[in-house]
Amino acid sequence: MRRFLLLLVLLLQSCSYENPYIARIRSNYFPIDKTGSFWIYRNENGSEKYIEVKENPNNLTKDGKEVIILEENYNEAYWYKDNGYISRYREIQVDFNGQLTAVESRWQNYIEIPLVKGNSWNDSWNDTLVLLNEPLYRTDNLNATVQTFETLNTEAGEFKNCYKIKFTVLEEIRSEIIGDSLFQETYYEWYAPGVGLVKSAKSNEIWELIDYGNIEKGD
């Protein structure tokens, strides 16, 4: 009897079953820090984009933070994962007489982690910059909300427990040199456990994951 009970305990200890709630707790929704990881997306027009995590051999930093390098179609983007956020490094340029001029750069808190349904965050940025010795007033605002979790099917497979995030960005410029402008956009992104971004949707553009893996693992 005693042995039977001990065996029963050991058996229960090794038991597991699928619990979506626990799966969301234990999963990494942003595996962007593993060198060689890649994601391939396709939109409804058949265009493809390839994103790969590149090695950072020289320990490149931006504003004191060691970056994660994501290469998208041979263009490098810098990301950072800590302090409660997935952050991206933004290099802001304005169009002056058809020529792009860099006016500022900084980290933007893009996604607050861990993901919890209903959570909202905001990254707001109001600056007075100088362009050709004249002031340029710039407002950059990102609002995001984790709306729900759902199952997604793409060409790369079925992804359960995907968090859907709604983003609203607003960029306003007031300048006597380049004039005033206002840009506002709403878009959605879906993140899958252990995979990352599997779908993004803007008003006229939908990108879906068609393949993913890690080059170093031979995928």
Partner: protein, 170 residues
């Protein structure tokens, strides 16, 4: 439904304590193991339990456990669980002076809440807690408990548990 379960459980706990005149309170640390430790730091727990049936080498007990974990990367994030449970205690494995070693296993139903700022996600899961420990008799009725073990949620997360407690047994 959850409130009814909790109230019934507390009634059983209190009733058992009055009847059997034995109870124990434990407190300690739980350390997440595996991938979920990336976002969850060590947590504290507090539990009360009482034997409802006792034989020469075996006791059946009911317990109530409260655990709380802070976010590792985000101080605004919290993970809490409230878990009534029931289990078996095998003792004594062997005696050392006035003390003995025991092995304990319990199954609990965990009501879990994750919160970040004002957002909350709730869920539940079954868990199996396996402990080995020592009972150190400090008087006629008072006992100090030391224990360590592992709590396994059947959904697939684990934690290492280390605790100390005080009990009364008549």
């Amino acid at each position: 439904m959850q409130k009814i379960v909790l109230v019934l459980f507390l009634i059983i706990c209190l009733g058992s304590q009055l009847f059997a005149i034995n109870f124990a309170g434990n407190s300690g640390f739980a350390i997440p193991l595996g991938s979920w430790s990336d976002e969850h730091g060590s947590g504290q727990f507090f539990s009360v339990n009482t034997d409802i049936l006792s034989k020469d080498y075996l006791a059946i007990f009911v317990s109530f456990n409260v655990s709380t974990f802070a976010g590792k990367a985000n101080s605004n994030y919290h993970f809490q669980s409230f878990s009534p449970g029931s289990g078996l205690k095998f003792y004594p494995l062997f005696f050392i002076d006035n003390s003995n070693l025991f092995a304990k296993a319990s199954v609990s139903y965990n009501f879990i809440e994750r919160s970040l700022h004002n957002a909350k996600e709730t869920g539940n899961d079954l868990a199996v807690l396996s402990l080995i420990g020592a009972e150190l008799k400090t008087g006629n009725n008072w006992i100090i408990y030391l224990s360590l073990g592992e709590k396994h949620f059947l959904g697939g997360i684990d934690m290492f548990v280390i605790g100390v407690g005080l009990g009364y047994k008549k």
